[in-house]
């Protein structure tokens, strides 16, 4: 598979291609920490035939799209317009790209789509796999480069021949690609599990640029193989299936491709049978460039999403729209900000006499851009802990008491942690929302006192109610977590009939639904002996499984806290 040396070769080729057709390729997604290796890449950027402009992840609309130049406006006493960074074609360098908000991503994606000639260099310094550039952008950038594992010794300064690049640029418009080339690239993208149609498109443009660099008038096989390595291989989501002999030893492909998908692939293969050699060469090229740990990466991506429960679980949000006010600070008056008038006046007050003497314009109040104070707020999204408690059977009475105790303890801590608590109990044939999301201790105690027990185990009904509560709470801006407390196997199906097999199936389905909604969960087994079906259920939920026989309220609440804080 790929070695450090060949990675760097690809980087060099990629930079050359980018210098030939910066706007057509959209740009470069550079995943690397700040360091000498990245500096070598950045040093090559001036070879791009566009002015370089730096953005930052929290850049405002006014800077991007232009607007009124406040400094000049205030100084001259008339409205002065200023051009935005996106007004003219440019190489947009975006450092700390992993912190790009969806809003900025949408705007940059729009700028790339409009064909205004921009080229985005996204410098992604993410440390974790899920800390990365928004997919709306990665999809539009032709070149994906990951330098994290690359030692400095394996790199050389990038050499770009300015004259050759200029010639290639001039030639680019005349480079032709045979219709077959299009088909092969599209086919290969499907086989690599790349759904987006932008990928083969970008690969084609890369191949054109490569041909132009080589001084040719038509895209040939070498250009294609390189383009596949550069553009398609980094986007692969599956290993291409082996042809003819379906090797049983081969790693099972991830479950993405649907059956019909597979059919189409086979059709496609039979259609282009006469061109098989070309397909094979391209396929080999792609395989050679696939990251060695593709499967591991894919798995990590999946499980990470389930367990983390989306962005910002109960996290602090520093915004400037609402929440608890924090001190205002000096800032620019661009779109996202609100002026703190009092603080601005206070900042301007001491200077008034001086400014009046200096100013050419007669005015009562002299305010400069430096005086502007911006309002800031901090808010935390509230966490909601949904207890799903098994109240079935006679033994449940003790368990229920412990669960009630745990809820009360957790609620008492809730004032500090800003947690809300809800309680769903399931018994008999159905589940009941005993305690809607609340932070009120008094209300909790009153409702909990009236909780009865006994009957069957309608686990699926309990999970369903929990899911409904969680979806509602999420809509209200809370971050729900589901905690299931039970000891046994489901024996009542969703429709209320005592059918063990159906009940188990329903419970698994509901668990899958909860996972699909990306709600984090935990399963606490309170039975005397660990129950295997519960472990399986926890796996379906993507949740930690915690066996806690004879748990008391304190141990229970600390176990839950530990999982929550993990």
């Amino acid at each position: 598979m790929s070695t450090a040396g060949s990675v760097w070769t690809r980087v060099e080729v990629g930079l050359n291609v980018l210098a030939v057709d910066p706007a057509g390729l959209g740009g470069l997604w550079l995943r690397a920490r700040s360091g000498p290796v990245r500096d070598r890449v950045m040093a090559a950027l001036p070879a791009l035939p566009l002015p370089q402009k730096r953005l930052h992840p929290s850049i405002g609309d006014e800077q991007l799209f232009g607007g009124i130049d406040l400094t000049a406006t205030l100084a001259e006493g008339r409205v002065v317009q200023r051009k935005g960074l996106l007004a003219e074609p440019a190489v947009l360098v975006l450092p700390m790209a992993e912190r790009t908000q969806p809003g900025l991503a949408a705007r940059l994606a729009g700028a790339i789509d409009m064909g205004a000639g921009h080229c985005l260099i996204a410098m992604d310094e993410g440390a974790e796999p899920d800390e990365t550039l928004p997919a709306a952008l990665t999809d539009r950038l032709a070149l994906h480069v990951d330098l994290d594992a690359l030692p400095y010794g394996a790199t050389d300064p990038v050499e770009l021949d300015k004259d050759a690049l200029a010639q290639a640029r001039a030639r680019l418009g005349q480079v032709k690609a045979a219709p077959k080339v299009l088909e092969d690239l599209t086919l290969l993208a499907v086989r690599l599990g790349i759904d987006s149609l932008r990928a083969p498109m970008l690969a084609l443009r890369t191949a054109r640029a490569l041909a132009a660099l080589g001084g040719e008038d038509e895209v040939d096989i070498d250009d294609l193989t390189t383009a596949v390595e550069l553009v398609l291989a980094p986007r692969a989501t599956q290993f291409p299936e082996q042809e003819q002999d379906q090797d049983q030893q081969q790693e099972p492909p991830p479950p993405e491709p649907e059956p019909e998908d597979r059919q189409d692939q086979e059709q496609g293969e039979s259609q282009s049978l006469d061109e098989l050699p070309l397909q094979d060469i391209l396929l080999e090229a792609a395989q050679a460039a696939l990251p060695a740990d593709l499967l591991a990466q894919l798995a990590a991506k999946k499980s990470g999403r389930g367990a983390m429960g989306g962005a910002g679980a109960g996290a602090k949000l520093k915004g400037n729209r609402r929440g608890r006010p924090i001190p205002s600070r000096r800032g620019r008056l661009d779109s996202g900000n609100r002026l703190d008038v009092i603080a601005t006046l206070r900042a301007a007050a001491p200077w008034q006499t001086i400014r009046k003497q200096e100013s050419r314009i007669e005015r009562n109040l002299h305010i400069r851009t430096d005086d502007f104070r911006i309002r800031r707020f901090e808010e935390k999204s509230d966490r909601l802990l949904i207890f799903v408690v098994d109240a079935s059977g006679s033994a449940a009475m003790t368990r229920l008491a412990e669960a009630k105790g745990a809820v009360e303890i957790l609620l008492a801590e809730a004032y500090a942690r800003r947690d809300h608590v809800a309680l769903v109990a399931f018994r008999g044939e159905d589940a009941e929302l005993l305690l809607p999301p609340t932070r009120s201790l008094v209300q909790t105690k009153r409702r909990l006192a009236a909780l009865p027990g006994g009957g069957g185990t309608p686990l699926a009904a309990g999970l369903k109610t929990a899911l409904e509560v969680a979806i509602q709470a999420k809509g209200r801006g809370m971050t729900p977590t589901v905690a299931l407390l039970t000891d046994g196997r489901a024996n009542i199906a969703l429709d209320g009939t005592p059918n063990r097999a159906q009940a188990g199936e329903d419970a698994t389905k509901m668990a899958a639904a909860i996972r699909l909604n990306e709600f984090p969960a935990m399963v606490i087994d309170m039975g005397q002996r660990p129950e295997r079906s519960l472990k399986a259920l926890a796996d379906t939920l993507g949740a930690p499984y915690i066996p806690l026989p004879r748990a008391d309220a304190n141990r229970l609440s600390s176990a839950v806290s530990a999982v929550l804080d993990a």
């Binding site: 789509d113 409009m114 149609l197 498109m201 779109s335 809509g475």
Partner: protein, 334 residues
């Protein structure tokens, strides 16, 4: 600046194209929501929509595109009487947009530089009588969604803040697009969209190749490509105009009304908006096809688009709402 990729040149995605055309024929249908994967032509289609819309007549210099001088709001101080023809406005609502920018606010620059209290109209004013396009609509911030819901409901934008008291008409058609993997849409906002379409990457190799081929031609041979497809776009626009004129002469039988009502009942959609949209959309389809009368076939054609987003979500139903609608349509309109 190059023009966006022409609408008629979009390969496949027939349901999405149909929905866009229908909403252009009858803006009363209430907009389109396009949900789907990345790189399936969502943004392309919406950006291309503008070219299909017939121009409107507005008072020159009016910030809310009023059709006649007496409808211009007082605060705008429109002095001109000229009526000019403008393309139907398609206004982009960016994600990180602030409340001020959407509804309009005190013009702070004027306030600071000349001490004048003036109103600076926002995006809602610009979108009046036109289209408001929200890319990644599911990522829109909640308070902006609230605002839009309120205005979309009343058709009027009221600003009461910072010593300003301003109102102006804001009737627009919402067009949204998004990727469902990145977040859900609130049911209240879902309901405001007349039609909803799900798009997926084409699974058929030939279609995929055709997409790439046309896109490549658009980029490599812009003039030739646009020359060819601009013609098609113009023809489509003429058909839309003809359909608009035809809309009022269409007959709708009670049987069709009954079909609509029965469909909505069987699907258990909330409220009566489902029926109304179903009716209006069927009418638009019939007008587009040049039919004399709205028939059951027309209803069947658009039932999925008009209803799939109005169902209550069933977490156990893995098939998704499209299959549910199709099933019920088969049963009711058998």
């Amino acid at each position: 600046m190059t023009q966006p990729f022409p609408f008629s040149a979009i390969v496949g995605q027939e349901e999405m194209k149909q929905a866009m055309i229908l909403t252009a024929i009858d803006p009363g249908i209430g907009g389109v929501l396009v949900f789907g994967d990345r790189g399936t032509g969502k943004s392309t289609a919406v950006r291309a929509l503008a070219a299909l819309l017939p121009p409107i007549k507005v008072v020159a210099g009016c910030p809310v595109n009023s059709p006649s001088l007496d409808r211009c709001p007082d605060w705008a101080h429109v002095g001109q009487h000229d009526i000019v023809e403008r393309p139907t406005p398609v206004v982009d609502l960016p994600l990180g947009v602030t409340e001020d920018r959407v509804v309009g606010a005190l013009d702070i620059e004027k306030a600071l530089s000349s001490g004048e209290k003036a109103f600076e109209p926002g995006l809602l004013a610009r979108a009046n009588r036109g289209y408001l396009y929200i890319d990644e609509v599911n990522l829109l911030e909640d308070h902006i969604v609230d605002l839009l819901l309120d205005v979309a409901q009343s058709g009027e934008n009221v600003v009461e803040r910072e010593g300003l008291s301003i109102r102006h008409p804001a009737r627009f058609v919402l067009v949204g697009s998004g990727n469902p993997e990145e977040g859900e849409l609130r049911p209240q906002l879902l309901d405001r969209f007349g039609l909803s379409v799900e798009v997926a990457s084409p699974k058929d190799i030939d279609t995929r190749i055709e997409v790439i081929r046309r896109r490549d031609a658009y980029e490599m041979d812009y003039d030739g490509f646009m020359g060819k497809w601009r013609q098609e776009d113009a023809e489509l626009r003429d058909r839309i105009l003809a359909a608009r004129a035809h809309l009022n002469t269409l007959k709708t039988s009670d049987a069709v009304l009954r079909d609509c009502a029965e469909l909505c009942l069987a699907l258990g959609s909330d409220g009566l908006r489902g029926e109304l949209t179903l009716l209006k959309t069927s009418r638009a389809v019939a007008a587009f096809e040049g039919a004399e009368e709205v028939t059951r076939d027309h209803v069947r054609k658009i039932a999925s688009s008009a209803l799939r987003h109005r169902l209550r979500r069933d977490p156990l139903d893995e098939a998704g709402s499209t299959t549910r609608v199709t099933r019920v349509v088969e049963e009711v309109l058998a």
